[in-house]
């Protein structure tokens, strides 16, 4: 029972991180029908930069903020340089470009920082806590993970539901041409979307890196879990990203806990297959049918 509880708690923490990655994917997919396969690698690069800042002697929080800011900038730049020229071309081109960018970034990170693993500190203790007489595997850092992702989700919710900027961004995502006819400038909003998405990816990377370790490909697996979560929740639903993230995190935790950790990536694939067979549009698909 205690084992089950601990696995569940671990699954929730992982699920929140996965949800942040999924949210990043959803933000871009919804607006441009592109899955940014480079998102994990972009976050990885940014994390190395945060690592460098940290080793300049700056504190954890300065590095944290620097990473998020770099992420925003990186996302915007990527959109302008790589994605904008692809507008109106086959979606396959965008997939190949983002995937190629993933490879390129991992190669560059390897060339600059090598493939050895580095440890990245956590801002809070990663040790489990004792409640009464039972030791539970939920550390202060896990609490921070959950709160940080919740804060991200709430910020996004406020942005999209409560502000004019968010209203414009949603219009661009749902109906770009109609948005233009209502005087909305589409291009800067798409750039902003990429910036926010990259920042969500960076947050996920900063939350996962203390427990994994910093290598050029440490985000690969997290990215595919994020993809899983996004498919489960519905690729164009931010709420689905959260629910899908938790579902994915918990499922993988149980598979890892009871069957073996090496099975987790394949379990994620099985989850995608099953969810596509049962509910292909995802749990929280938007109501409108696909436009022909």
């Amino acid at each position: 029972m205690q084992f089950f509880l601990n696995i569940t708690l671990g699954g929730i923490a992982t699920g929140m991180i996965v949800a942040a990655v999924a949210l990043g994917l959803v933000l871009i997919f919804r607006a441009t029908n592109i899955v940014n396969f480079a998102q994990g690698a972009m976050a990885m690069m940014t994390t190395y930069i945060a690592y460098a800042v940290l080793h300049q002697g700056s504190g954890y929080w300065l590095a944290f903020v620097a990473a998020l800011a770099t992420g925003l900038l990186f996302g915007a730049l990527t959109q302008v340089v790589l994605i904008r020229p692809l507008q109106g071309k086959s979606p396959l081109n965008a997939i190949i470009v983002t995937f190629g960018f993933l490879i390129f970034l991992e190669g560059v990170a390897g060339a600059i920082w090598g493939s050895q693993t580095r440890t990245y500190p956590a801002p809070f203790s990663e040790a489990g806590q004792k409640i009464g007489n039972t030791q539970i595997a939920f550390s202060p850092f896990d609490v921070f993970v959950v709160l940080a992702v919740l804060a991200l989700m709430i910020l996004m919710l406020v942005l999209f539901r409560g502000t004019d900027l968010g209203l414009r961004m949603r219009a661009v995502a749902f109906a770009p041409e109609t948005a233009r006819l209502l005087g909305v400038r589409v291009r800067p909003l798409l750039t902003l979307g990429w910036a926010l998405s990259a920042a969500a990816g960076v947050l996920a990377a900063l939350l996962v890196v203390p427990t994994s370790s910093l290598t050029p490909n440490f985000m690969d697996v997290i990215l595919i879990y994020g993809f899983t979560a996004a498919v489960v929740g519905g690729l164009d639903s931010p709420v689905g990203a959260l629910v899908g993230g938790l579902a994915t995190g918990l499922s993988l935790a149980y598979v890892g806990g009871y069957l073996g950790g090496s099975l987790e990536p394949m379990a994620a694939l099985a989850l995608v297959i099953v969810s596509l067979m049962i509910r292909p549009e995802g749990l929280f698909a938007r109501p409108a049918p696909r436009r022909v």
Partner: protein, 237 residues
């Protein structure tokens, strides 16, 4: 008096000439009906005016400005509102959000409320559904929302693409009456693209008939409506 002036406008899609040397002007306080068969180039004409397609040659002038080189957003901000075919409401948003979106670039946060209320007064069925998602609306309500969303920014030029398509005759008639009153009351320039020639001629002052991408008739609406040979030949009634 500012007019919308279209001169020698030609649009091609690759090798296909959609519009050839189209010229006409539309005056304030008047409805100009653009008529023609399916595929005559009417939709292309509206898309060229708002910059959604770029003309191969020719000019679109309004209020002393050349529109054909401006971006879509700039043209819209200049006071040209375009309601595309197919009631392009954003289904994932509520009625209120759709209208708010239309008002964003013209009005400050404080001014928006009253402006949107005016639209609700113009189209009372929308007021009852302001919190509903637009995908729950009927065809007529969607058309009202699409037109209302265009009007909320107080445009000076209103381009309407087949507003009566798929609507019941009584709904069409009511919509046309609202349009006629509105045009006169707020001195709008309305360009009304319709296949339904009879109902659009009933409220139009001027009629432009397009066939195979060329203007074949540019006359007073009453004259076109009265000319049975012309009606037979191009308008099919």
């Amino acid at each position: 008096m500012p007019v919308l002036e279209i001169e020698d406008l030609s649009v091609s899609y690759g090798a296909v000439h959609a519009l050839t040397d189209v010229s006409f002007s539309a005056a304030e306080g008047e409805v100009t009906a653009v008529l023609g068969a399916n595929g005559a180039g009417k939709t292309t004409l509206l898309r060229a005016i708002t910059g959604l397609v770029r003309p191969r040659k020719g000019t679109v002038r309004y209020d002393g400005e050349q529109l054909e080189k401006m971006s879509v957003e700039k043209i819209v901000r200049h006071g040209v509102a375009h309601v595309p075919e197919g009631r392009s409401v954003i289904e994932e948003m509520t009625v209120d959000e759709n209208l708010r979106l239309g008002s964003l670039f013209r009005f400050s946060r404080r001014q928006r409320g009253p402006v949107i209320e005016e639209i609700y007064a113009l189209f009372p069925p929308l007021a009852e559904r302001r919190r509903q998602h637009a995908n729950t609306l009927s065809g007529g309500e969607r058309q009202m929302l699409a037109i209302g969303r265009a009007l909320v920014s107080r445009p000076k030029v209103l381009l309407l693409d087949e507003p009566s398509l798929g609507l019941a005759p009584i709904v069409t008639a009511r919509l046309m009456a609202v349009l006629r009153d509105l045009t006169q009351a707020s001195n709008l320039i309305v360009v009304l693209v319709e296949q339904n020639a009879r109902s659009s001629l009933s409220i139009a002052q001027k009629a432009v008939v397009i066939n195979l991408g060329r203007v074949v008739v540019c006359e007073d609406a009453a004259k076109v409506a009265g000319d049975s040979e012309l009606r037979h030949h191009y308008l099919g009634y």
